[in-house]
């Protein structure tokens, strides 16, 4: 299977720059997520790969072959759209059979293949229905079946979990990963949801306002965000960001706000070239703990805050805490009931903090 390469892609639609100088290599056989907020240009990028959007500048390659001007029907690609794009006037069977009809396959063979794919996805009992009679999850399976039956080299999935309810979305995440593994094909999945990336992707490309902010393995991008856009967006719950000042005193290095002072002298060497004073401290909610008494006694890297909300999500809790004028979130991997207004001590390890330049957003530590 070939890799996909995008070279210097720019796309403007009705005077609005959607993609700016995108160059990207998507490795074959991997599950790559394009992560970005709504309006980042994810769908446009997928449509360019599919050949559904024309290009004024830039090139698209499949391996060594330049496919920039190749029509969508000639590309060996299947795409599942956000709204699934099932043909509402055709039966589920006809929807799934459509790619095979385009190949002019004999009817008998079409029937056999449709049944195979439908039973693989557990939708064989739905073949005589029309899309209107299906639930969201069923629609999605039909759309995936239609994509799978073509047996393309590349699958493009555009926010296909967004319209599903929470429970089905959870189920589909693990199922999709399983299907992807079984097929062993290149999958490019556009999503605004960091959880999709964390649970499924081998690689991630963070797209923001038409620019690739960072690309790499999921782990690498998550642990080493290049800037505040990536750090702030890629994570669930999102990273806590607090305006701080970097201070050097008595050969020591601190970050301070009105409420807290953290000694980060261990990073003195790493930061000795940095001139900036105004920084943003980033701490992921899962890297903060509610301090036990023992930890409180040790007294390092502690900060006192007031609970403003305890949000129970499934078997986890996100505790919202107010520290001075800042609000931060702490992820507690269990159901944790704490009264609103209670004062608690929070602890975090300096190993897990990030520092960003407040002007440029560049990550200077982490």
């Amino acid at each position: 299977m070939p890799e996909i390469r995008l070279k210097n892609i720019n796309k403007t639609i009705e005077g609005k720059e959607i993609l700016k100088n995108i160059s990207l290599r998507i490795e074959d056989g991997l599950f790559t997520c394009i992560l970005g907020p709504p309006g980042a240009g994810k769908t446009t990028l997928l449509k360019i790969i599919a050949g559904l959007e024309s290009l004024a500048t830039g090139e698209v390659y499949f391996g060594e072959e330049d496919i920039t001007d190749l029509s969508p029907q000639m590309r060996d690609i299947s795409m599942v759209f956000q709204d699934f794009a099932l043909y509402p006037h055709l039966l589920v069977y006809e929807n799934i059979a459509s790619p095979l009809k385009a190949k002019r396959m004999p009817k008998k063979e079409i029937r056999k293949k449709v049944k195979e794919v439908a039973s693989f996805l557990g939708i064989d009992r739905l073949l005589d229905r029309i899309p209107k009679q299906l639930s969201g999850g069923e629609m999605q399976r039909v759309a995936i079946a239609r994509a799978m039956i073509k047996e393309p080299k590349v699958y493009l999935l555009d926010e296909i979990l967004v319209n599903l309810d929470y429970k089905i979305r959870e189920e589909m995440r693990s199922e999709l990963k399983g299907i992807a593994k079984k097929m062993g094909r290149t999958i490019i999945y556009a999503t605004p949801d960091p959880l999709d990336v964390l649970s499924m992707a081998d690689r991630v490309v963070v797209l923001h306002k038409g620019i690739i902010e960072q690309k790499g393995s999921t782990k690498e991008v998550y642990t080493h965000p290049k800037n505040i856009v990536v750090g702030g967006y890629f994570g669930f719950p999102e990273m806590n960001l607090v305006d701080c000042v970097l201070k050097r005193k008595n050969n020591k290095l601190f970050i301070t706000t009105d409420e807290l002072t953290i000694d980060i002298s261990e990073f003195k060497e790493k930061l000795k070239e940095r001139k900036e004073k105004e920084v943003i401290l980033g701490v992921r909610p899962e890297n903060m703990n509610i301090a036990t008494e023992a930890v409180q006694k040790r007294g390092n890297n502690l900060v006192k805050g007031e609970v403003v909300l305890g949000e129970v999500i499934g078997s986890d809790t996100i505790v919202h805490v107010k520290i001075g004028k800042d609000k931060i979130k702490i992820f507690v991997p269990r159901i944790y009931r704490v009264p609103i207004g209670e004062k608690i001590w929070l602890h975090f390890n300096t190993r897990d903090i990030y520092l960003f330049n407040r002007q440029t957003g560049e990550c200077i530590l982490g």
Binding site: Q73, M79, P99
Partner: protein, 275 residues
């Protein structure tokens, strides 16, 4: 309970009134065809003929070459509708789906052709038609009707095509089909209610068009039913019996057409929400 009764009665009265407004002219038209001459002009008017008089039918059919008029009207209307749809559907599709410079200006230009009252275009069009030898030609009249139908077809269908998610076509193309096939297999069936609606509107306009038919046709080879009906109000009086016969038989194909196409509109809408 009393409140409900009053509401139901009120609704019935309103419906009865509406029915009367719409159905009574039709009743009067058909009933007049069966009235002998004296009954028509009698005052106070007779709601039921004094006797059933069938003579109006053969007279109207033979004396005024109604079959020719019928044929002319049908040809002009069919050409007007078919040509209008043939040009209007691709125009609407292109305006709905493709991004190109001047698209919206082009659409506005199409609309401006309906800004002026038809009479203002009549003289220039007459000169043009005369210079190319297309006066008194039923097909030429059809072309004119197509031009008149075009703005409504293009504007209504563009709105309709825009309602159909582009992803349906794109998905079909990614299945391996051509854009043309995507149009005929996906867009066309889904926009059928819209196409049916503009066809209805075009039929209404073309079948009953009077002004251009009057100005551009001179004899039985090209004259249409509305023009002939107008001519029947002559020196010897108004031939109400024959006029209403022509009106009645002119009505039959339209009514049949509407009944058929209305069913399609309902069927098309029952596919449900597209998005």
């Amino acid at each position: 309970m009393k409140k409900l009764d009053a509401w139901v009665i009120g609704k019935f009265i309103l419906l009865a009134l509406l029915l009367f407004v719409f159905v009574f002219p039709l009743y009067w038209l058909v009933m007049t065809t069966f009235k002998p001459g004296v009954d028509v002009i009698e005052f106070p008017p007779r709601f039921v003929p004094s006797r059933l008089f069938f003579e109006n039918y053969p007279r109207a059919w033979t004396e005024y070459s109604t079959s020719f008029l019928y044929r002319n009207t049908a040809i002009a209307s069919l050409v007007g509708i078919a040509l209008g749809l043939l040009i209007g559907i691709p125009a609407a599709y292109s305006a709905a789906r493709f991004r190109y410079k001047g698209r919206d200006d082009f659409m506005f230009f199409i609309l401006t052709t309906r800004f002026l009252p038809p009479i203002t275009a009549a003289v220039p069009l007459y000169i043009v038609f005369k210079s190319v030898g297309m006066l008194n030609n039923v097909f030429a009249l059809g072309i004119l009707y197509a031009a008149m139908n075009l703005p409504i077809i293009t504007w209504v269908l563009r709105a309709y095509f825009r309602e159909i998610p582009i992803e349906l076509e794109q998905s079909y193309m990614l299945d391996g089909h051509s854009r043309l096939k995507a149009f005929f297999k996906i867009v066309f069936p889904l926009s059928w209610p819209g196409i049916a609606a503009v066809t209805m509107l075009s039929v209404c306009f073309s079948w009953g068009e009077f002004l251009f038919a009057l100005l551009f046709t001179f004899n039985i080879h090209a004259k249409t039913l509305p023009v002939k009906v107008a001519e029947m109000q002559g020196d010897i009086g108004i031939l109400w019996g024959q006029i209403t016969v022509i009106g009645t038989i002119a009505l039959i194909p339209i009514m049949v057409f509407f009944v058929i196409i209305q069913r399609h509109i309902v069927r098309g809408l029952s596919f449900g929400a597209l998005k």
